[in-house]
Symmetry: C2
Amino acid sequence: MSRWPDRLRDMTTSSTRSTSGSSSRSGSYHHGDLRQALVSEAVRIIREEGEKSLSMRKLALNIGVSRTASYHYFADKQALLCAIAEEGFRRYNAMLSEVHQNGRRPPSAESMRDFVRGYVQFATEQTEYYDLMFGGHIWESGTSTDSLRKESHNSFRNYVSNVRSWKEQGLISDKVDALRFSQVSWSTLHGISRLIIDGIYADSAAIEPICENAAEMFWRELAP
Amino acid sequence: MSRWPDRLRDMTTSSTRSTSGSSSRSGSYHHGDLRQALVSEAVRIIREEGEKSLSMRKLALNIGVSRTASYHYFADKQALLCAIAEEGFRRYNAMLSEVHQNGRRPPSAESMRDFVRGYVQFATEQTEYYDLMFGGHIWESGTSTDSLRKESHNSFRNYVSNVRSWKEQGLISDKVDALRFSQVSWSTLHGISRLIIDGIYADSAAIEPICENAAEMFWRELAP
DNA sequence: TACGTATTTTGACAGTGTCAAGAATGGGTC
DNA sequence: GACCCATTCTTGACACTGTCAAAATACGTA
């Protein structure tokens, strides 16, 4: 006679379980892949109900484990959020290398436009990740995970070294300061994204021309 | 024999009381200027201990009133934060009109640099306000106060109409789209500020050259 | 002095993150 | 197969949080 028959019965039919896929043995005391299930469900909650609505207790309840089970995989809530942000950086890098076609595409007015569009699209469509990646909550007071810090530094370093290599190949003006340009242009992209996400640029029809304008401005800076 | 002798004694010597100034009658049941005291103390807590550390209960305790007294002036915590953001917009507008010398200063490479510096300085030094003004928490899910929304719209409209009037006076290139330029440049300013605030541009020595670069980029867009 | 209104308090409820201690499980060794 | 132990999960508990409803207090005014 089990001590939690209802919960177990619920678990086998829970929609949550179907997403975790591989190694989850339904009906067992051990979940099988709790760590991944936690991250997935957390992302789902943030996307569909907002970050504020994510609590460790509700998260565990939805998955079908007890409130503190998660603490075996994440030291605290912050660590969970860091793990999600890391996943975000992985997706972000994938998006970047697709837009840049792995560096095989020379910079141009068009490539700039595609890049700006891609960035803003990623930020505004995958808000669940973007908010955590550059949201501040994670970074303030230095409570972020080591691996997350490494991942994010990598991301920006790639960005700069991209510009630098363009300059060395003579594809852009040699007057450009690669580091400064990267910082300022990234700021612009980040600013556009944040203002859209936060609903301050409410008119969604304005997004496209804003991106175009930004891309033109960037290219005016870079053009040989 | 009073029912809360300790609290009353504390109140008269509390450092909090001394800041409220004018109409507070110390030692009385009625606080005198509780609304203002709440805002001031809330700002203090956010600045010195971080926004996360601000709770309605602690706030009331610090001031020396009971936990729910604040709800007579603010419908909920969100409303309190909106009030602080409004105060922030007032300070922001003051800063702007000082930098622009009330519109009497024609746009130039120097004025651009001063403007960028002023903006970033305001954002990074008065983080308590800036975070709330453009922080998202307040805007998401449309729970912001009417008066706050009005104040913020005003702020941006002023910014655009400034650029527009420059254009009409022939002080900048007539190829500039005032609205688009305003949106993109504001995004850049916001992006720089956020990335500094969030500690992602950790090197504080980089701030100055970043601002300079941004200002140059802006002026290249505007120069007649 | 009495009354109504503005202001503040107490009590209560449903949440939250997280620690410490214990219980169930599964894999490896004899 | 029986045993043991590390891994995984649960229960209980504590100190917090925002906020509602009802009661208490003080003040201005008639």
